[in-house]
Amino acid sequence: MDLKILREKIDGVYRNALKEIESIKDEAELENWKVKYLGRKGEIKRIFSLLPGLAEDLKKEAGSMLNEVKNKLSGTYENARNSSGGGEKEEVNLSFPGKPVFPGYLHPISVVTRQMTGIFEKLGFGIATGPEVETSYYNFEALNIPEGHPARDAWDTFYINEAERILLRPHTSPVQIRTMEKTSPPLRVVSVGKCFRRDAVDATHSPVFHQMEGFMVDRDINFSHLKGVLTYFINQMFGEKVGVKFTPSYFPFTEPSAELSMTCIVCKGKGCSVCKSSGFIEVLGCGMIHPEVFRNVGYDAGKYSGFAFGMGIERMAIIKLGITDIRYFYQNNMRFIEQFI
């Protein structure tokens, strides 16, 4: 007898047993079933008795097959006995919770970044990246922040080698210079990445954060376009009803410069502790790209004009998602991460 025939035999017994137990009505019948298949002279035992006549390896294989079937049928018997209380099948109680599942989650910084870049991509902005270890030239000088200028105090910078002017970028603006050096206008680009500043960690400060930088250069770009594009962005991000306000500001690489504030999400503009009773919260800095920046990258400042803007990703996430402490972003607590999709 070869294994194939034996297997068919065993399978046959198993199938019959399952079929018969379906139609069993009471405990007596169940006991009879047990005797028939699992009893001392039952079907399983009968096939076992055939084994001694077989070849050694066949015997082993068939033995394990038989044991498996025997265990399965014993389980079937137990189940049937347990559920045959009233002779009827017990109804499954569907009210109990399902088994938990564990899908993967993107970090909220990635979630919010994608929302933000998505809005600009709709307007035809491309995406660029740049190095985190930067030179002072791209980070400061090319952006019209000369050495020894007090404006540098706004970027408290980590140095890797100050004498050689190598630093960790404190903003994503150097990507603007790198992109413009490589590409001629017209262009519109956003760039997102990690930035570093010498801020001690507390609820609202982190030495590491993410920033989005964006700019658009073409003929005839003016301040009204800056307002138009950024107002569109804020309305896409926070809703059409959000009010937007532009006030004068100062950045060495833009002139005129502006700061965008929007109506406070918490108090809806009535004034609260979050907006320091002003009804507005500061969201981002922006302005018309300074002609000096154009000259530094070899653009004709008489022919082209453009606007640029920069904003913190964590700040946007904090406003958008109502997160109360910037430290959450870097603790990687799963109970934090799994809240966002």
């Binding site: 050495e147 030495p207 590491v208 658009m216 376009h225 060495p252």
Partner: protein
């Protein structure tokens, strides 16, 4: 400094309301923040931009408001009468460091308390009251923006010199601290000693004291960059240094000198000496041409020429009107005005940003650069999430212990860290991820599947290598092979067909396999975390598997292009095999041996490894299924039987495997 409504109003001819003043300042973006209200006055702070040093003065803030109201600036009385001949010789070592220096002797001054109005005014601005002479200098600094210094004349020996410090020199500044001086610091010295750190702080040796009778008043212009460098070097920022850094003009200097002389004379009498000057009252004039059409071109709104002319006049800009242009000379205190856009910003500030419409630009559609790599990285993150991994983002700044573990990489330290915990750039993603895992386990989140995608850094400070790494980790969620299965799936999703693993030691691992892609080694490592590392990170009791990938090395070959593969039309036939092999058998070899036979094998699926009691020592039983399928016909039983025999033969001969069982599933 702090500002007060009443003190600013003193410089404005005509009346202006409190609310009105704050609203103007607010619309200029100076964000006034009222800190207190007392006896009908408002005390407020301003956010003054770094390029507008003139706003660090009461008269400067008054000037900022005037264009709104059209009123005139009310200048304070600075009349004086020199009545003695006394003078002190002054020498400037380098005019670049100090373009203009003036000083004046006053003798027989009564040095006592200030009048009440002075004390009160200083208090509102946040300054402490001292002797009337010193108070006058502080008050005039707040009025005009010109920092002034008062020396005790009798403690100055010989002439006054403005020179660089010398290595080895040191001073005790009036805050009582001893400071080392070197060539980066500009000082004021007499013939034997340093009497002040120029533009930053005076020294104790020449400080005004209760018994001071004769004084020397200093009003100067120092090079902003030199003052800034000195201030950074000494770690000493003062009201004076803030103003000098932002730039002072000699006209302001002259005005400051006469006003402070007037005030000291008024409060302390005394005799007024002659004004000594060195260097030049600078006459550098910036002439800017503004084409009227540029205003509209930059702002996107038509601005009436009359408005432009009006604002320029109210801002005290000298203008000469040409045909559709203005030639403009800003006043000397406006060193922020350098080209036409600076003037356009002024026009916009006073015309209110809110008047400019919000419009969408009309732009040619220019296809943006594909940025393929950025898109790939995002897709890779999606695949990781799809496979059940959640994203971690760590700072990337870490401590010496963490970077020290990757011995083969030179970690990059920061020159000016803020703490020892954030002193180095990470050289591997592993330590920070382990710390985050431990953080979660402490909060009873024990089963984790995580990934991080980020930069690691290595090299010497002038040549830092930035590499993008990708790390997967599985914590208490299944065995190593269920982790490895997902890594394999990750690579097949990324379009890699040929994945191989070879044993290689790794500093974080007890058992490690190095990963090769399409035959290229060194693409990553997959391993069981070593007990030492587990103990180090407080993870002794967890089952942790890690896969570290060097993304930059293979991202170019990541391929998400897919094209339809015709579904098989003929049935497959499966054969299961169990072989006994020596324990050291490598799965790759079994697979390659079968594929190399040239049979119509679609795939080989490993499904069991057994090393139980019934096995010979040093042997394992490996079970796998081979799926045969011919693209053009249904395979006959006899053919499959023949294939199976060939497989058994090849494995027996080439790999010393012994057939344990074969099974048919067609």
């Amino acid at each position: 400094m702090k500002y007060s409504y009443k003190l600013v109003s003193d410089y404005i001819a005509g009346n202006i309301g409190k609310r009105e003043m704050l609203d103007y300042l607010d619309s200029l973006g100076l964000n006034p923040l009222v800190t207190s209200e007392e006896d009908g006055d408002l005390i407020f702070e301003l956010e003054t931009p770094a390029n507008r040093g003139y706003l660090l003065s009461l008269s400067g803030v008054a000037r900022e408001i005037l264009p709104f109201t059209g009123s005139a600036l009310k200048l304070p009385d600075d009349s004086l009468a020199e009545n003695i001949e006394a003078e002190i010789p002054v020498k400037i070592e380098n005019r670049k460091d100090c373009p203009y220096y003036s000083c004046r002797i006053m003798k027989d001054v009564s040095n006592g308390v200030s009048p009440e109005w002075m004390e009160k005014s200083l208090g509102k601005m946040g300054y402490r009251s001292s002797f009337n002479t010193v108070d006058a200098s502080n008050f005039v600094m707040a009025e005009t923006g010109q920092p002034l210094h008062i020396f005790d004349l009798d403690r100055i020996e010989g002439r006054v010199e403005i020179r660089r410090g010398r290595k080895g020199e040191s001073v005790v500044t009036i805050d009582g601290k001893k400071r080392e001086i070197d060539g980066d610091v500009l000082v004021i010295a007499d013939e034997v000693k340093i009497i002040a750190v120029a533009g930053i702080m005076g020294c104790e040796v020449s400080e005004v004291r209760a018994d001071t009778k004769n004084i020397l008043i200093e009003s100067a212009v120092f090079n902003p960059a030199v003052v800034r460098r000195g201030s950074k070097k000494l770690g000493l920022t003062t009201e004076a240094s803030l103003r000098f850094e932002r730039g002072i003009d000699s006209a302001t200097s002259v005005k400051g000198m006469s006003r402070v002389t007037h005030l000291i004379n008024k409060t302390g009498k005394g005799n007024v000496g002659k004004l000594t000057e060195a260097g030049k009252r600078e006459e550098k004039v910036t002439e800017i041409t503004l084409e009227v059409c540029r205003v509209g071109k930059v702002l996107g709104i038509k601005v009436e020429e009359s408005f432009i002319a009006d604002i320029l006049e109210r801002l005290n800009f000298l203008t000469e009107k040409g045909k559709n242009t203005y030639k403009i000379v800003p006043p000397p205190y406006r060193n922020d005005i350098k080209e036409d856009v600076d003037i356009i910003e002024e026009i916009a500030r006073y015309g209110k940003y809110s008047e400019i419409p919000s419009l969408m630009p009309v732009a040619s559609i220019s296809p943006t650069s594909p940025a393929e790599e950025i898109a790939k990285v995002e897709k890779i993150k999606d695949i990781a999430v799809k496979l059940g991994f959640s994203e971690f983002i760590n700072m990337g700044l870490t401590n010496k212990r963490n970077t020290g573990l990757s011995r083969n990489k030179e970690a990059v330290p920061l020159e000016n860290p803020i703490s020892a915990n954030l002193e180095f750039l990470r050289s591997s993603l592993i330590p920070e991820v382990l710390e985050s895992i431990q953080f979660n386990i402490c909060r009873d989140f024990r089963e984790l599947n995580v990934f991080e995608l980020g930069k690691v850094y290595s090299g010497i400070s002038t040549e830092v290598q930035e590499e993008e790494n990708l790390l997967f980790a599985s914590v208490n969620s299944g065995d190593f092979f269920s982790f490895k299965g997902r890594i394999e799936k990750f690579f097949s999703e990324c379009g890699f067909k040929n994945l191989s693993f070879s044993k290689k030691p790794h500093v974080f691992a007890s058992d490690n396999n190095e990963l090769a892609l399409s035959g290229k080694a060194g693409m990553g490592n997959i391993f069981v975390l070593s007990p030492d590392i587990q103990a180090l990170y407080g993870l002794d009791r967890e089952d942790i598997y890690v896969c570290e990938l060097y993304l930059d090395r293979f991202i170019d070959e990541v391929n998400f292009k897919r094209s339809f593969v015709e579904l098989a039309r003929f049935p497959s036939c499966r054969r299961d095999f169990s072989f006994i092999f020596p324990q050291s058998i490598v799965w790759e070899k079994i697979k390659n041996t079968i594929f190399s036979l040239g049979l119509p094998v679609e795939k080989i699926d490993f499904f069991d490894l057994y090393r139980g009691k019934n096995m010979e020592k040093g042997k394992i039983s490996v079970s796998f299924a081979v799926l045969f399928r011919h693209p053009e016909k249904t395979l006959e039983n006899a053919e499959v039987k023949d294939f199976s025999e060939k497989i058994v033969k090849a494995i027996t001969n080439k790999l010393k495997g012994r057939l344990r069982g074969e099974n048919t599933k067609c």
